[in-house]
């Protein structure tokens, strides 16, 4: 396994090639060899930087600096100064006005290293999650004490707003704004709900937080309750997360003993109770209104919005629903201040993000990195490269709320803003990294089978649409596809996005759209030539039952 400390990318778009980027690449190869850096510095090309006067450009990670226009004779200096000695060569940086459009965001990184910044996972693995004293010893309940003794509820909300924290469940809604909506909604009873029904395929960040640091989430819920004038909170934990549930119950019990929960918390006149509600295996109950229905004892079907839970939530009262990871950000923000928090991440998306890495890479697992990190860095630095040196083909960013990111977009920063502009989405933070042995049609088929299985069945476009899309894509993998199916698929996907009642049906369309946008040739090869370019699809009709049993979906 090769672990690299730096990565050099030479632009190789047509303009750069014309201006001699091939020679630059060759020089880098030579120089790295002569400085004996070839083992620890990865060298690659990058085609999709956007037009710039400054081409050819050279991007060096992890500092995320862009040099340009680079001449072959500059390479020696870059290698000796930057890569060997570790100094950034200021005068060779691309002038701000000439920054290539696709890379301009890198400026916001201010040259900071994307080494793991642990804010949320700071205590994970260091404390005994079943021991409240361990938590208290590591700054636990200090933020709550600060909020109750020194801050008004309004000030708490302002601090969260100033921090720029955005919801980590996938949609990225500004948390401070949501809190103030609930706080100002008319009603005599309010609720805090922590959404811990983490069911996005490949996402397990909330589980790590709940299992390793349950008190942090509990503390954040109490603070949220104080801020929005709620006396009761619910945490809805996925049914399969038995350990999370056990530890959270223990946390509630201990917090009661120590006076962090119950009447007159820490001697103030603020009362708060937290109930744990176990999910029962429905993916759709991670959708906030379906989750509320489920707590109310009804069938887990999303409600129609508006009205939103901020005004008509649990039992019809104003309700704050936040994801586990979102809440985990709250105590550090209150403790260290919004200013401190904004130092991490990008201006539009401050803070860090917990990602779960899985797929054909050397290292899988949970990482915490600042917002704005790129997929290329995640793969090459955290995931320690593709398995067996295979080429990166695409990443799927987590269950329903994400999308397919092709290799050409792997330099898009992973925050809430940039991917949206590039037409992809960050989702819950799961990064399924696929190499070029992955068939995109097969991948999308599996995703759609998941959606058709997990749709609640309430609204027509999702209930029947996911099934029809699945059938069409399945036919393609079995050699029975028609070219006209593709336009039909796109049309249906578009209507599902327009008409579905909740995010499940809306985003079930995303993989189809992304597949046809980025990998249309590969899909058409299945149809026109009757072969699967990667050899994954068997291209003969298969028995669905056998397949379902194989995947344990029945």
């Amino acid at each position: 396994m090769k672990i690299t400390r730096s990565m050099v990318l030479v632009s190789s778009d047509p303009l750069s090639l014309q201006r001699g980027s091939l020679e630059i690449y060759r020089r880098f190869q030579e120089k790295l060899e002569s400085y004996q850096l070839a083992e620890e510095v990865a060298l690659s090309t990058i085609t999709d930087v956007g037009n710039t006067e400054a081409s050819p450009v050279v991007v060096i990670y992890p500092e995320a600096v862009i040099y340009g226009p680079v001449q072959p004779e500059n390479v020696d200096r870059l290698v000796s100064e930057h890569l060997y000695k570790g100094h950034i060569v200021e005068e060779m940086l691309v002038p701000k006005r000439h920054l290539p459009s696709r890379m301009a965001w890198l400026q916001s990184r201010k040259g900071s290293l994307p080494a793991q910044q642990r804010i949320l996972l700071a205590r994970v693995g260091k404390i005994d999650p079943e021991n409240i004293e361990d938590y208290i010893l590591h700054d636990g309940y200090q933020a709550l004490a600060k909020a109750l003794s020194k801050m008004t509820p309004q000030q708490v909300i302002e601090e969260i707003s100033k921090s720029g924290l955005q919801g980590r469940g996938g949609a990225g809604f500004p948390t401070g704004r949501k809190w103030s909506f609930v706080a100002s909604a008319p009603g005599n009873k309010r609720y805090v709900i922590c959404n811990a029904d983490e069911s996005e395929p490949g996402t397990f960040k909330d589980r790590v937080l709940l299992e390793s640091d349950p008190h942090a989430i509990l503390e954040a819920m109490i603070i949220a309750g104080y801020a929005i004038h709620a006396q009761e909170g619910y945490i809805y934990i996925r049914g399969e997360y038995e350990l999370s549930q056990k530890r959270f119950l223990k946390a509630i019990e201990q917090a009661h003993e120590y006076g962090f929960l119950g009447k007159n918390i820490l001697g103030s006149n603020f009362d708060f109770e937290v109930h744990l509600h176990s999910g029962a295996g429905a993916y759709v109950c991670g959708e906030e209104t379906a989750l509320i229905e489920s707590i109310e004892g009804k069938r887990g079907e999303p409600r129609s919005r508006p009205p939103y839970p901020t005004t008509h939530g649990l039992w019809g009262q104003p309700t704050l629903v936040n994801n586990v990871e979102t809440l985990a950000n709250v105590p550090p923000i209150l403790l260290h201040g919004a200013e401190w928090y904004r130092r991490f991440g990008t201006p539009s998306s401050p803070g860090t993000k917990v990602f779960t890495i899985l797929g054909n890479v050397n290292a899988t697992g949970v990482i915490e990195a600042p917002m704005g990190i790129t997929l290329r860095e995640v793969i090459n630095i955290y995931a320690q490269g593709m398995k067996n040196g295979a080429a990166f083909k695409l990443a799927q960013t987590g269950g329903s709320s994400g999308s397919l990111i092709p290799a050409s977009l792997q330099d898009t920063p992973l925050d809430f803003d940039s991917p949206r502009k590039a037409g992809v989405s960050l989702g819950s933070g799961a990064l399924l990294i696929c190499d070029d042995n992955t068939c995109v049609v097969d991948l999308v088929k599996v995703l759609l089978r998941f959606f058709r299985f997990e749709s609640c069945g309430k609204c027509t476009p999702c209930r029947i649409g996911t099934q029809r899309c699945y059938e069409t894509i399945r036919a393609i993998t079995e050699g029975g596809g028609q070219l006209s199916d593709l336009d039909g698929l796109l049309r249906l996907a578009e209507q599902m996005e327009r008409l579905s009642n909740c995010g499940l049906g809306q985003t079930a369309a995303v993989p189809i759209r992304d597949m046809l946008k980025h990998f249309r040739t590969e899909v058409e090869a299945h149809i026109r030539l009757g072969i699967c370019p990667t050899g994954i699809c068997r291209m003969v009709p298969e028995d669905e039952t056998a397949e379902l049993i194989e995947n344990q979906m029945v």
């Binding site: 759709v284 129609s304 609204c459 476009p461 029947i464 008409l499």
Partner: protein, 359 residues
């Protein structure tokens, strides 16, 4: 009152009104399948989507509350395309076994026709469920025509308060079942037929009316079964009642009827139905009661009532007032039952009076 604009027309509606209802008040029809004014809004079929200024995607008007200065467009080429997709999807999972259902054009078929979707082209080629899958004597169940609008579920829960129907499974496999997937009667169904009245597709139908054809006239009348005075519509064909339907404008009961009002009409054309009073031959002749009580004879009302009065008075005089008991009927009005009470206590002189509803 909240003012908004629907298709450019200013509309005023009380707070909490849905856009669909507000449009209805303004005389603008928005197609819908899962919505009914009597039932809690659901937002399932998505046929009623409308464009609202400021929103990227269309909204389901059946669940969208009116808001000040809202600007709603109910029909546009894009919305027509969306409605057509919805109808195609619904019909792609619909199967018509081809039997006569005597319903005429169902709501589903009406919208399919309006938006140019040919059911025969898109519908399933083979059934997913058994046709006539429930042994209920009155209610015909054909889940092949079910579109999961859940009107039956809501009607049963909200109109009849019986909670017979519910959804099981999820996603594409979702289906409507009675109780824990059992027969309707096992699920404590009272056969009121509310679910049938609200079904927009004919998945639920009246068993007795299935092959009788369409009515040539509809007669609104009052149910004769009890004193509540529910109104209902007799669907008449060739002088025969072929079906009883709810009259949505009925002041007392709305769409609600009980099993008797909706299904207890076979007496009307029954061969053994009495249309004139009958008395025993021996009572007319004043002779002693023969063995087997003798023949029935048709008489006019005066004769029949004279005989009844004479025998009641005779019994009271011979054996005392308490030898007579009066049983009043739920088919009578309150006023009539009051008179029965007067009759028992003052005319006969007994407290022996009771009512069938107390038995």
């Amino acid at each position: 009152m909240i003012s908004l604009k629907i298709n450019g027309i200013p509309v005023e509606a009380p707070e909490g009104t849905t856009v669909l209802r507000a449009a209805e008040q303004a005389g603008i029809e928005i197609p819908t399948l899962c919505d009914h004014r009597d039932l809690t809004p659901y937002g399932g079929c998505r046929l009623c989507v409308v464009d609202v200024k400021g929103w990227r995607f269309p909204m389901a008007s059946c669940t969208l509350p009116v808001a000040p200065d809202m600007e709603v467009t109910t029909e546009s080429p894009a919305l027509v395309e969306s409605r057509r997709t919805i109808l195609e999807l619904i019909l792609s999972n619909y199967y018509d076994a081809g039997y006569e259902d005597s319903l005429g054009e169902t709501q589903l078929m009406r919208w399919a026709k309006r938006y140019g979707v040919d059911p025969a082209k898109v519908m399933l080629k083979k059934p997913r469920f058994a046709v006539n899958s429930d042994p209920n004597p009155f209610i015909w169940v054909d889940m092949n025509k079910c579109i999961l609008c859940t009107r039956c579920i809501r009607a049963c829960a909200e109109i009849q308060g019986r909670f017979v129907w519910s959804l099981v499974e999820r996603g594409f496999d979702t289906r409507v079942v009675a109780g824990a997937d059992t027969d309707m009667l096992d699920a404590r169904c009272e056969s009121c037929g509310a679910c049938v009245a609200y079904c927009p597709t004919g998945a639920l139908n009246n068993k007795m009316s299935l092959s009788l054809g369409l009515p040539d006239k509809v007669v609104t009348t009052t149910c004769t079964y009890c004193g509540v005075g529910c109104q209902l519509d007799l669907n008449v064909k060739d002088g025969h009642v072929v079906r009883v339907t709810s009259n949505p404008n009925a002041p007392v009961n709305g769409m609600h009827l009980c099993v008797k009002g909706r299904y207890g009409y076979d007496f009307i054309h029954h061969a053994e139905r009495l249309t004139k009073p009958l008395v025993r031959q021996y009572l007319l002749e004043g002779t002693p009661r023969p063995k087997g009580r003798g023949e029935w004879v048709e008489v006019d009302w005066d004769t029949a009532l004279d005989i009844a009065a004479r025998k009641l008075a005779g019994t009271r005089d011979a054996y005392g007032a308490d030898s007579v008991g009066v049983l009043a009927s739920a088919k009578c009005l309150n006023e009539e039952n009051y008179l029965m009470n007067k009759f028992a206590r003052q005319v006969i002189g007994t407290n022996n009076i009771d009512h069938c509803a107390r038995l």
